[in-house]
């Protein structure tokens, strides 16, 4: 499809116009970090962000989401979502959303996810600042992002707006776009290539080799014990990960004590009780009792278990887990390199 | 007149913490008339030892859940004094706004949930639900508002999070402050008017009883003293005297009374009073005009010597806080809020502070070592300061009641109402002794 150009100074009015009719979620500053949040005004938008605390998946698969409503009469479906625009998503997060699309469609299509997904227009954006823990250039390099509707690349003097879908096309009437010149398109190409070149952290092995060797290291307890020694089972590496999607389900009554909601909340396989079952009479059994077993499970999921289904690893190299893990042991780069070195 | 009266109210209700009243009257003679406090001792002053200065307010805030904003402010102020931690004018203004929130919040609870049922002849607020639904709903709304107002500044009102030595860990946004102001005008004012109507209709029901005493409160040149200032007392004859805050031990003179079971305080007389009425009597001139108008409508001009009217003084202060806060917010918004890092220690040593909490003047004092670890703490709590005064009020009141030939039940209610008027917050327990110990 076509590629357009939006002059630098026109971005605010473009976003403002979008805001007038639609909910727009984009990166904004929070202290010295960034988060995706509903924009109240265009000037909050910070396309120069490096990475956000939580990934933009929360706009589609929210931290807590109702699955059903219930009342004394039984269960009832929840309403359908309003359209929204997810603005300024980096390509690695688009790749992660592609994976979630796959998971939630596979087998049983999860309408609670897909309805939100379909109501969302995703405008991806180029990476202007790179976090020091990022390694997006060296994981799943042959898996290309595809779920976005348009891609905005910052270049000298403005933005190149590449359209991928009709939804992406539909937005241009709200801004002062003009067709991009060949030079502008190649500057955009160069800017995105440069982000890959400058990506600071590296994994040096192929997905296939990592998948095979990490899987083979399953039984090397001493390695996992060593890697997970300082693990707090805090689940930050799950919670901040754009490709994690496990959840818990709980029922809650409304104040009338008769109706309520069944809702799901993000869960994490690193949490102590994730695989705990009740056996009755207060007894329980935990299928991953030790922190090291849970730590290993996550690494397996990111590097090996899902590769066949996804055609690549279930990690997009955003570096969020590395940034968030207080004892700094969750970084896939270090874990993989440690295992690969034997 | 041969009459034996036994009033024994175990755990006076609708007050914070536990207090007992024991009165034995035989043949018109008072054999025993005691106000006892059996609250379990909790030893906060020992617990702060060895803790880092950043943790001390978090600990002492837990002395009392209802005055936890006040304890936190007193604590950080004493720590700032001891460690030479600077605070900005913005911090002071925000803390003042927070102080108003706490007094507003607490006064609403006290007057509407704890005192009003007495005046309406109910045992608690619950039977009033069907009879006075609008007032109760307004009261719950105001209470919730007070909580949200305080939370906006302190993070939460029970054990504040954002208030730290040197300033605030997190600030409200300007939009939030502006919304607060709008809500004060649009939501709170109508509810307060409703409350004022009810209170003025009930005012004649406050028992008539006078006992002039010494009244102690913070006095500040800048405003009606709540957040800062010097110690001031006003005597029954209207004379005032002032002391510096670090002289607080000189005016409180804590002592163990052999007849009673709690540590008491006294200054120039055998007892003094702290609280809304003490503030009113000391600083009436500095009240907001709207508050003065309410006082006038309630027939109150200083010196007011009827302790039952402490609740009325709280109503006056509620109006004062509401109006003064509107001005404070205007001021804050006109200069704009700046993101500031909390100030840091510049020295070590000892320091004191005083803050007016809803129940009266509160003193904190700490000393720190060179690593800013706490060496010792001392807290003198307003409810404690009122014990001697309550006891002396009791002695006079019981005589009057006996003379008026009141029944046991009437006496019990009058005494309970008196205790409640002081709004005692007995869980501020650092200095409490046990009731089981009666000689």
């Amino acid at each position: 499809m076509k590629t357009y150009f939006l002059p630098q100074h026109e971005l605010p009015s473009f976003v403002s116009t979008l805001l007038q009719t639609t909910r727009v979620i984009g990166p904004v500053a929070k202290k010295h970090k960034f988060v995706f949040a509903r924009l109240a005004s265009a000037d909050e938008l910070r396309l120069d962000y490096d990475v956000t605390i939580l990934p933009p998946k929360k706009a589609i698969f929210p931290q807590t989401q109702p699955l059903l409503k219930f009342s004394p009469e039984g269960y009832e479906d929840v309403g359908t979502p309003q359209p929204q625009i997810l603005f300024g998503v980096h390509f690695y997060d688009v790749k992660a959303l592609d994976m979630l699309d796959e998971f939630f469609t596979d087998g049983h299509a999860d309408r609670r996810y897909l309805d939100n997904r379909e109501a969302t227009t995703i405008v991806a954006s180029s990476i202007q600042h790179i976090n020091e823990r990022a390694f997006f250039a060296s994981v799943g390099a042959d898996v290309k992002p595809r779920g976005h509707d348009a891609f905005l690349t910052a270049i000298e003097g403005g933005y190149v707006y590449e359209i991928l879908t009709d939804k992406g096309e539909a937005l241009i009437k709200h801004g002062s776009f003009r067709a991009a010149t060949g030079d502008e398109v190649s500057s955009a190409y160069a800017a995105n290539a440069e982000a890959l070149d400058k990506c600071p952290q590296h994994i040096y092995h192929s997905t296939r080799e990592i998948g095979r060797r990490v899987r083979a290291a399953f039984g090397r307890d001493e390695v996992w014990d060593e890697l997970a020694e300082k693990c707090f089972s805090c689940g930050t590496c799950n919670t901040t990960c754009p490709t994690c999607y496990c959840f818990d389900v709980q029922d809650k009554w409304n104040l009338d004590q008769a109706s309520g909601v069944r809702e799901r909340t993000w869960d994490g396989c690193l949490l102590d009780d994730f695989a705990r079952v009740s056996l009755g009479e207060g007894a329980t059994d935990n299928f991953r009792e030790k922190a090291a077993q849970r730590f290993r499970h996550r690494v397996m999921r990111k590097t090996s278990y899902l590769n066949e289904k996804l055609g690549g690893p279930a990690c997009v190299g955003c570096g969020r887990c590395a940034i968030g893990c207080v004892p700094d042991i969750a970084d896939p780069v270090r874990i993989i390199n440690r295992i690969m070195e034997g | 007149m041969t009459r034996k009266i036994n009033v024994n109210v175990n755990h006076v209700t609708r007050v914070e913490g536990h207090g007992n009243i024991v009165v034995n009257v035989s043949n018109g003679k008072i054999e025993k008339c005691e106000w006892q406090v059996p609250e379990a001792p909790r030893f906060f002053e020992a617990m702060v030892r060895g803790r880092h200065y950043s943790e001390v307010a978090r600990i002492t805030s837990r002395i009392c859940g209802i005055c936890s904003v006040g304890h936190t402010l007193a604590s950080v102020k004493a720590t700032e004094d001891a460690l030479g931690i600077p605070v900005t004018r913005q911090t002071i203004q925000l803390r003042r706004l927070l102080k108003h929130a706490e007094n507003f919040d607490s006064h609403i609870v006290h007057v509407l949930f704890l005192v009003a049922p007495d005046l309406l002849g109910a045992k608690s607020v619950f039977p009033l639900l069907p009879t006075h639904p609008e007032v109760i709903k307004a009261a719950l709304r105001l209470k919730r508002f007070g909580h949200e107002w305080g939370s906006l500044l302190a993070g939460r009102t029970t054990h504040p999070t954002r208030v730290v030595p040197g300033g605030f860990a997190e600030l409200p946004t300007e939009t939030e402050l502006a919304t607060l102001q709008e809500r004060l005008i649009n939501e709170v004012a109508p509810d307060i008017n409703l409350v004022l109507e009810v209170v003025s209709s009930l005012a004649p029901l406050f028992p008539a009883f006078d006992r002039p005493t010494e009244y102690m409160a913070l006095h500040d040149t800048a405003e009606y003293g709540l957040y800062d200032g010097c110690i001031q007392t006003v005597m029954p004859d209207g004379t005032k005297e002032q002391w510096k805050v670090d002289e607080y031990r000189k005016v409180t003179n804590e002592y163990v009374n052999s007849q009673s079971t709690a540590k008491w305080t006294r200054n120039k007389l055998d007892s003094y009073a702290a609280g809304a009425l003490a503030r009113f009597n000391n600083n009436f001139q500095q009240l907001h005009a709207e508050a003065k108008a309410v006082a006038k409508a309630l027939g109150m001009t200083p010196l007011v010597a009827n302790p039952y009217l402490n609740s009325a003084a709280q109503v006056v202060e509620t109006v004062h806080s509401m109006h003064t806060s509107l001005q404070l917010i205007d001021e804050l918004l006109s200069t704009g809020l700046r993101q500031e890092q909390p100030g840091l220690p510049a020295q070590h040593g000892a320091g004191s502070s005083a803050v007016e909490v809803p129940r009266g003047i509160l003193f904190h004092h700490y000393s720190y070592d060179q690593d800013y670890m706490c060496l010792q703490g001392d807290c003198v709590i307003p409810t404690n300061q009122n014990h001697a005064n309550i006891q002396l009020d009791f002695e006079k009141l019981v005589l009057e009641l006996v003379a008026a030939d009141k029944s046991e039940a009437e006496m019990e209610l009058a005494l309970e109402m008196l205790v409640r008027a002081y709004d005692p917050c007995i869980s501020c327990s650092t200095h409490y002794l046990n009731v089981k110990f009666v000689r």
């Binding site: 919670t239 104040l255 102590d272 207080v326 | 609708r14 617990m47 837990r62 607020v125 029970t158």
Partner: protein, 251 residues
């Protein structure tokens, strides 16, 4: 459908009564909403009425700190179908347990009067040290939303869940900038969640007021407090005492 209302009573022991205050903060909608389903039969702080009838749910606030309180606790247990220890003081010993690390606290606070018998107060203990407790909800103060949810669960005879994961989970769900990334320290790594992580969101560290999770990684905590939080060894070692004194296996 007018089901008989559930009879609820509130009692307090050594505490600041802040948890009760939190209940009055629920606001008119929630508070009056709950009153549609429960009848408060005893609540000394706001009412004079008491009851001699059976209580469906007894909420107990405050720690068990002296033998003198045992009979009162036992009588509550005998009268109540469900006993809920609410607030950290009742659930874990709370802040009161900080003194359990000291031996001279009486002398320190009361000086020469310290030997008076009424000052007798032993180590601060959870209510469960005196009577059988059906449910313990920590929190200093309790979280209003959690309280409303738990009342609703108990009304339906469903055992409420108190999370066994660290505060970091809730902190991340609300996207708070981690204290460790602002040059501070934090106990959220080992602290039991359920509060919604208000402290880090307000710019102060989590002090683990709800106690720790079932299996806290304490050696790693010490290391992190020193290496990432910049605490001295002494402060790191005593850091978790504020609310979790009873859970550390110290000599």
């Amino acid at each position: 459908m007018s089901k008989p209302k559930v009879k609820v009573a509130f009692f307090d022991f050594a505490s600041c009564e802040g948890c009760q205050i939190e209940l009055t903060n629920l606001g008119d909608t929630v508070f009056l909403g709950l009153l549609e389903h429960i009848e408060i039969v005893e609540f000394r702080e706001v009412m004079k009425e008491t009851t001699s009838q059976r209580i469906d749910i007894a909420f107990i606030e405050g720690s068990f700190t002296r033998e003198a309180d045992r009979p009162r606790l036992e009588s509550i247990r005998a009268r109540a179908n469900v006993v809920v220890a609410y607030g950290s003081c009742a659930a874990t010993g709370g802040i009161n347990a900080l003194k359990n690390h000291q031996t001279d606290y009486r002398e320190f606070v009361y000086g020469k009067d310290a030997e008076m018998p009424h000052l007798d107060s032993f180590q601060a203990q959870p209510i469960s040290a005196a009577i059988q407790v059906d449910l313990a909800i920590p929190g200093c103060p309790i979280d209003q939303a959690e309280f409303a949810r738990i009342v609703s669960d108990v009304l339906h005879g469903k055992a409420p869940t108190v999370p066994n994961y660290p505060v970091c989970v809730e902190c991340k769900l609300r996207e708070t900038v981690c204290r460790y990334q602002s040059g501070d320290h934090c106990l959220g790594l080992v602290a039991r969640a359920g509060c919604g992580a208000p402290c880090p969101a307000d710019g102060v560290p989590c002090e683990a007021c709800r106690g720790m999770v079932d299996s806290p990684n304490q050696p790693a905590l010490l290391q992190v407090l020193m290496e990432k939080g910049g605490l001295s060894q002494l402060r790191a070692e005593t850091k978790s005492r504020l609310w979790t004194a009873r859970f550390r296996n110290e000599e």
